[in-house]
Symmetry: C2
Subunit: 169 residues, 2 copies
């Protein structure tokens, strides 16, 4: 497209001669990423957004977000753990977790039991209903993972999982 700054003396109503660049962009715009090509964060972010979009879409029917899924999975595998432990494990703010658990509790999926070991703690557990929903969520999450494997290619998927898994904090 033409840039006024570069043709400041041409009247605005004059016919606009298309330069080669204009014609190219009009039919098949190829935008240069330049320095972003060397930024790992840029590509990891784009990949993460794409993965989450697929996950969110597939688990929309049971209304489970990626964060909620991770919370349900970790509680199920570590019944009785505290909110602080859970928050630290998943990198969620404790304050955020409070509201999240409130929502899950309203849906009768999780419970905060008083810990008999320390009066300040809550022992987190899934309800029977929570376990049943998690079972359904795991099926959908496995389908999501398989879709990602197909989209990325099995070999790239395997390598990425291995590389990302090996990274801790």
């Amino acid at each position: 497209m033409a840039v006024s700054k570069r043709t400041p003396n041409r009247p605005k109503d004059a016919p606009m001669p298309l330069r080669k660049k204009d014609a190219q962009r009009a039919s098949a715009p190829v935008i240069e990423l330049a320095d972003l090509k060397d930024r790992l964060g840029y590509f990891v972010r784009r990949l993460q957004v794409a993965i989450f979009q697929d996950f969110i879409r597939r688990l929309a029917r049971i209304d489970v977000s990626p964060a909620q899924f991770s919370v349900l999975v970790v509680i199920a595998a570590n019944p009785g753990l505290s909110q602080s432990e859970l928050a630290k494990t998943l990198g969620i703010e404790r304050a955020r977790l409070v509201r999240m658990l409130h929502g899950l509790e309203l849906r009768k999926l999780t419970v905060r039991l008083p810990s008999s070991a320390d009066g300040r703690w809550h022992a987190l557990e899934l309800t029977r209903e929570g376990e049943k929903l998690l079972a359904r969520a795991k099926v959908l999450a496995a389908e999501h993972e398989e879709a990602m494997r197909e989209k990325l290619g099995p070999e790239r998927h395997r390598q990425m999982l291995e590389l990302a898994r090996g990274f801790d904090g």
Copy 2:
């Protein structure tokens, strides 16, 4: 830690015998990730957050976010492109980009020039000040990338960049 549900008959004020599990968690809590270990999205998300945290911290002194950096880079490499093209390229909502460009324009870093090719378009460009700030940002971003290379290990960094870069949408 002890879970009340599992010892419902013990009075709350009775002394609490520590089971082995309790003692373990108190000293070195090892929380099981279970199913999350097979979720690429989980690890990619954790990695992306870690990368962004470093980037944000390093570019805080010039007040440039990852999204702002990507916008400045792409405008600089494609002067005169439209907001729609920019938004589509970076996966940013057009409505979001409007507010972002408003902020950058208030800081005299970018300008929206009227396009002489199409009255609906704005031709985006950096100001001289925007170019100067971007130059500084690129230096800090390169330092950030080097830090990531060290943190991940050069080989993992190279492989991840190659794998993630090869993924499109």
